[in-house]
């Protein structure tokens, strides 16, 4: 297509990971390694072996074979797990680092917002920081001056404009920083998860501002977030990255559902089978856990807050004889190991009379009441009032923010892991 504003072709970025090197190279190490390498080379020369390299270096492709096109005025979400290459892609697009291969064609000015308040100096006042930050983001002095009042107005910190920002609360700091960024007027705006900070009210304001930028002003926005409902609201199209490669490009809904079903070894429950640190007599053994969307009956690998889901617990039976009075319990804890809840067939009063032909049990949860984060399941079962199998932290899964309350509003994770439906009355 002719009027693509961003054209990316076969883009790749690799990093060399030395297994010995720390963050930066010291001359000492170079000398030491050169000497070592020299000795090794001598050794190899004598033994007649061919030398591959002098140091244990591994090439790691943070991004590879990435190609896509974005049209002017599109708002495109970029989603993927941590380490999928999202930030690397943004860094390449905003010219912070150079690609190892491939080509990017940009038909417009790019402003990138990879962090809120880049370059803010704590000793300078709010007013001074507006100019500093604006210049860093590529605005001219005249441009900042003409928008100064608007920026101050948007941030709502006019009272503290002449106070050094080190005395600001973190909320004020973020508001001021975003206010500057929101008034950039590039053709292409690249935004990394900057909305993860700040209170809900301000987040909404920022989303609204970004919406204006893309819809009203016809600018192109690239937006990385873990907040699926923000992506859903803001973007028309999304790119899903997985392990540095494009997993899916499509409409937002399509991309999000494909993202939620990325099959990733790390998240697999298949390892439960091989766990040896388990208790119980082994009358049954848990072998796997899978997660399903209850509405579509499809398997997923990431859950959304408010989704109807079930966990499918697979197990093997030791012998074919009948199992009576089976009890199944699932303990839910957060990543730190704090126990959050217990789902227990004894409590729900569910009686499994016989497990003759079954190979799995489904544990169903309607409108998943968990905020975004990583959670763990501990699996527990009893047969004939004896512990049959007990696996601590058998399965780990992550939850992304979804529209739990049906209002489009979200709680920040810092408000707690649990979401509870509630109403107010007067």
């Amino acid at each position: 297509m002719g009027n693509a504003i961003i054209k990316v072709n076969d883009l790749g970025k690799s990093y060399l990971i030395g297994h010995e090197t720390q963050g930066y190279i010291a001359l000492r190490d170079v000398v030491a390694n050169k000497t070592k390498g020299f000795a090794k080379r001598l050794q190899h020369a004598f033994s007649g072996k061919q030398l591959m390299g002098t140091q244990e270096v591994e090439e790691f492709w943070a991004l590879k074979n990435v190609s896509f096109e974005i049209q002017q005025g599109e708002a495109v979400g970029i989603i993927g797990r941590n380490g999928a290459g999202k930030s690397t892609l943004l860094k390449l697009l905003s010219r912070i680092t150079e690609p190892t291969k491939g080509r990017i064609e940009l038909n417009g000015r790019v402003a990138s917002l990879l962090e809120v308040g880049t370059g803010f100096h704590p000793e300078l006042t709010g007013r001074e920081n507006i100019f500093l930050n604006g210049a860093i983001l590529g605005m001219s002095r005249a441009e900042i001056k003409s928008k100064f009042d608007e920026i101050v107005d948007f941030s709502g910190v006019e009272k503290f404009l002449d106070t050094p920002v080190k005395h600001y609360s973190s909320g004020m700091y973020v508001r001021l920083a975003f206010a500057v960024a929101a008034h950039l007027e590039p053709e292409i705006l690249v935004v990394d998860e900057v909305l993860a900070v700040g209170d809900a009210e301000f987040q909404k304001k920022c989303l609204g501002k970004m919406n204006d930028v893309s819809k009203k002003d016809g600018r192109t926005v690239l937006f990385v977030s873990h907040n699926m409902s923000a992506i859903q609201n803001l973007c028309t199209k999304a790119i899903v990255l997985s392990n540095g490669e494009i997993f899916n490009i499509g409409t937002t809904t399509e991309a999000i559902s494909s993202y939620l079903s990325i099959n990733d070894q790390k998240n697999s429950g298949a390892t439960i089978k091989n766990r040896i640190d388990r208790k119980g007599n082994g009358a049954i053994r848990f072998t796997n856990v899978k997660m399903f969307d209850a509405d579509t009956q499809t398997e997923v690998t990431i859950l959304l807050s408010g989704q109807n889901i079930f966990f499918r617990l697979y197990f093997d039976k030791q012998d074919k004889k009948e199992l009576n009075s089976f009890l199944c319990a699932v303990g839910l804890s957060n990543q730190l190991g704090d126990i959050l809840a217990n789902l227990n067939s004894n409590i729900t009063g569910h009686k499994f009379d016989s497990l003759n032909d079954a190979a799995f049990i489904d544990v169903c949860i309607n409108t998943l009441p968990l905020n975004n984060g990583i959670y763990r399941l501990t699996l527990f079962s009893m047969v004939n009032e004896e512990i049959a199998d007990w696996v601590e932290n058998a399965f780990e899964f992550s939850v992304e923010q979804g529209d739990f309350f049906g209002t489009g509003k979200l709680f920040d994770r810092s408000f707690g892991p649990l979401l509870i439906k509630h109403t107010f009355r007067m």
């Binding site: 930066y24 190279i25 390449l92 697009l93 912070i96 000015r109 990138s112 370059g119 590529g138």
Partner: protein
């Protein structure tokens, strides 16, 4: 405006970008000046006091105790201070610029702009201090009833000279310091050692002829000699001409090489910082 990003592509619009981001250069320099003396009681006075104290020490130790003379009609204090100014500028510019990239690593890993701006603005911030400390020089002149020679009108030329010398050396050190942090420890040594091989406490005339060429290899010799000629009215000898030409040549070569090296490594700063 179209922009193409490819590996190894030296962008044609780098210099244009540098121009486009000139305001960032001013504002970063302004920030450095502004922040440097925050939370100090006497603030900007520090930029005057430091060379003044250094000058007093030199005058007492070399002039009063060791009995060194200026050899001309110029008071010894003025002779030392004239050299102390460019020297202190050179040493702070070197120290500040070489640490500037690391100090601004949060910028480098989050936004794009020509990285050359960072060391340049660090040198610029030191330059402002340098200009301010000229106040003391004029105070000394009044105190000693010293009338500077006519060539003092050429001072701006030499200000540019010392700026370029400091910038070009600083640029090179800045780039290597990102990769090899060893230079963090080498630079203070260069600065300390340099003070004694540069004609700060003495005049270049005392150097024996056979060591002269080796001595002139220090680019600051030419710079300080030219300041002395300009402010103290030292005779413009063949020696001064040689030392100035050598230091101009060294400055030119390091500037070209520094820019080349900086440009070549600049792309990877964000990865290794």
């Amino acid at each position: 405006m179209q922009l193409i990003i490819e590996p190894g592509r030296t962008e044609k619009n780098y210099w244009k970008d540098l121009w486009r981001y000139r305001e960032l250069f001013y504002i970063l320099a302004w920030r450095d000046v502004k922040v440097r003396y925050k939370q100090t009681v006497i603030g900007i006075l520090w930029s005057v006091i430091r060379p003044l104290l250094a000058m007093l020490v030199f005058t007492i130790v070399f002039h009063k105790i060791a009995g060194l003379q200026s050899g001309t009609a110029t008071p010894y204090a003025i002779l030392v201070y004239t050299a102390m100014l460019p020297w202190q500028f050179f040493s702070t510019a070197l120290t500040e610029s070489s640490n500037s990239l690391i100090g601004n690593s949060n910028l480098i890993s989050k936004v794009y702009f020509p990285r050359l701006i960072i060391p340049a603005s660090a040198v610029m911030a030191s330059f402002v201090d340098f200009l301010i400390s000229f106040v003391i020089l004029f105070a000394l002149m009044i105190y000693y009833h010293y009338m500077p020679p006519l060539q003092i009108l050429l001072l701006p030329v030499f200000l540019v000279f010392v700026f370029v010398t400091s910038f070009s050396l600083g640029l090179y050190l800045t780039a290597v310091n990102v990769k090899y942090r060893d230079f963090r420890y080498i630079i203070p040594f260069i600065v300390q050692f340099g003070l004694f091989i540069s004609p700060v406490g003495f005049s270049s005339n005392v150097i024996p002829e056979k060591w002269r060429l080796l001595y002139d290899l220090n680019p600051m010799v030419g710079v300080i000699d030219s300041f002395r000629w300009c402010i103290c009215g030292e005779p413009f000898t063949k020696h001064i001409l040689i030392s100035i030409s050598i230091s101009l040549a060294i400055t030119f070569v390091t500037l070209i090489f520094g820019i080349y090296y900086f440009r070549r490594t600049e792309k990877t700063f964000a990865d290794i910082i």
